[in-house]
Amino acid sequence: MRVAVTINGERREADVEPRLLLVHLIREVFRLTGTHIGCDTSHCGACTVLLDGRPVKSCTVFAVQADGRTVLTVEGLEQNGQLHPVQESFVQEHGLQCGYCTPGMLMTSYAYLQDHPRPSEDEIRHAISGNLCRCTGYVNIVKAIQHAAAKLAAPAS
């Protein structure tokens, strides 16, 4: 089946089997390997992308469901060579160790901060509860998201 997806602002097409998962379309057909596969049981959230602006687990969506829709992956956060404030914050606050869960964390927090610009720590922890991290214990991830919230709220200097 032919699918057309607008991915990171660019319209791309592919011929796929209906059973192809969206994460495989992204990684293997479109060669955007920033989105990771961490489990196989829809638990870990490393595969998180934005589908029509909402964060979803791309391993639990068929590629054909994304036909005619918009997808944003971690590669789409950077604009004109500039890291997005969420990305900069993860760097600054050491919000990653191995980096495997990081794309998922970035996509979830990017989407979350758009609707919740001033979250409490508790709200952040609940917001990322679909993204598992085996390295950090979440402490610096939360700090990074708090840092990003402050950055995004501050007037541009």
Binding site: M1, E17, P18, R19, L21, D40, T41, S42, H43, G45, T48, R54, P55, V56, K57, C59, T60, V61, F62, V64, Q65, T108, H126, A127, S129, G130, N131
Partner: protein
């Protein structure tokens, strides 16, 4: 893992979807949120030859008050239900449940209709809808019919939906004044199914006696369970400590849990007892406001 191959259909109207299901029969599975179906397909525990994607059908995604009921379209996403002001104010028990279904990512796709139609005793909405006395609308080739949720769950992963029927709406009666409800779920971690969970919805009569109690139990039996004996013994009684204790013990007796990694039969039964008591107290607090 990779699902088995299937043919994919994407009807744009309910009529088209019904015609497809009529033609394909048992070889077809309906795809709504896919957050239960796709994991099953990846494990090849489900390998339908045809998948009928309902997501492009309009008119099934709204939440509104109509004719004395909250009408929830079957394709309403759990995150939408969670965010609804109407739900938060009038149905705190529903808001409680939304917050503990899977995780925020799953909730962006998972649908209320799917959570019921899947017939899984481990899903959260069944117990809540049992407690609320809700009905679902099922549309088939012969037209629409209403099924009380109390008659919906007929066996493990089995519902009263006939082959070729699509669940389109959930109708929840608006609670009278002096009503309150709560849903309490114990899970090992976010995203897990309940070790046990209890939903309670009560309405108080004039003198503080309980006019109506609805009690639903999650994941402690082969189907979602309506704790009818516990409900019956509360009717007309003041919800004092003795009544709550009795109802909690009775509800525990009405559960039929299986032993698994989440706990033993005895542990789960006792959880039902504790959660029922706590949910009754919380419902009472909310009813008194």
């Amino acid at each position: 893992m990779i699902p088995a191959a299937f043919e994919y259909h994407r009807p744009s109207t309910l009529q088209d979807a019904l015609a497809l299901l009529g033609r394909l029969g048992d070889e077809a599975k309906v795809l709504a949120g896919g957050q239960s179906l796709i994991p099953l397909m990846k494990l090849r525990l489900a390998s339908p030859r045809h998948v009928v994607d309902l997501n492009r059908i309009s008119g099934l995604g709204s939440i509104a008050e109509r004719d004395g009921a909250l009408v929830i379209g079957a394709l309403v996403r759990e995150s939408e239900l969670e965010a609804s002001e109407l739900v938060r104010h009038r149905f705190p028990i529903l808001a409680d449940a939304c917050r503990v279904i899977a995780d925020p990512l799953v909730r962006n796709l998972a649908t209320v209709g799917g959570n019921l139609a899947h017939g899984d005793p481990a899903n959260d909405h069944p117990a809540v809808m049992l407690a609320l006395g809700a009905e679902v609308v099922a549309v088939g080739p012969q037209g629409a019919r209403r099924i009380p949720v109390a008659e919906l769950f007929t066996g493990p992963l089995e519902t009263a939906l006939r082959s070729g029927e699509i669940l389109t709406e959930i109708h929840v009666p608006l609670p009278p004044p002096r009503s309150g409800g709560a849903y309490l779920k114990l899970e090992r971690k976010v995203g897990d199914f309940a070790t046990a969970a209890v939903g309670v919805q009560i309405t108080l009569a004039g003198g503080d006696a309980c006019a109506r109690a609805g009690i639903g139990l999650t994941n402690v039996g082969p189907t979602p369970i309506k704790a009818r004996r516990a409900e019956a013994l509360l009717k007309g009684r003041r919800l004092d400590d003795a009544a709550i204790r009795e109802a909690a013990e009775t509800a525990a007796g009405e559960s039929d849990p299986s032993e698994d990694l989440r706990g033993s039969v005895a542990y789960k039964r006792d959880l039902v007892r504790v959660l029922t008591a706590r949910a009754l107290r919380r419902a009472l607090e909310r009813a008194a406001h």
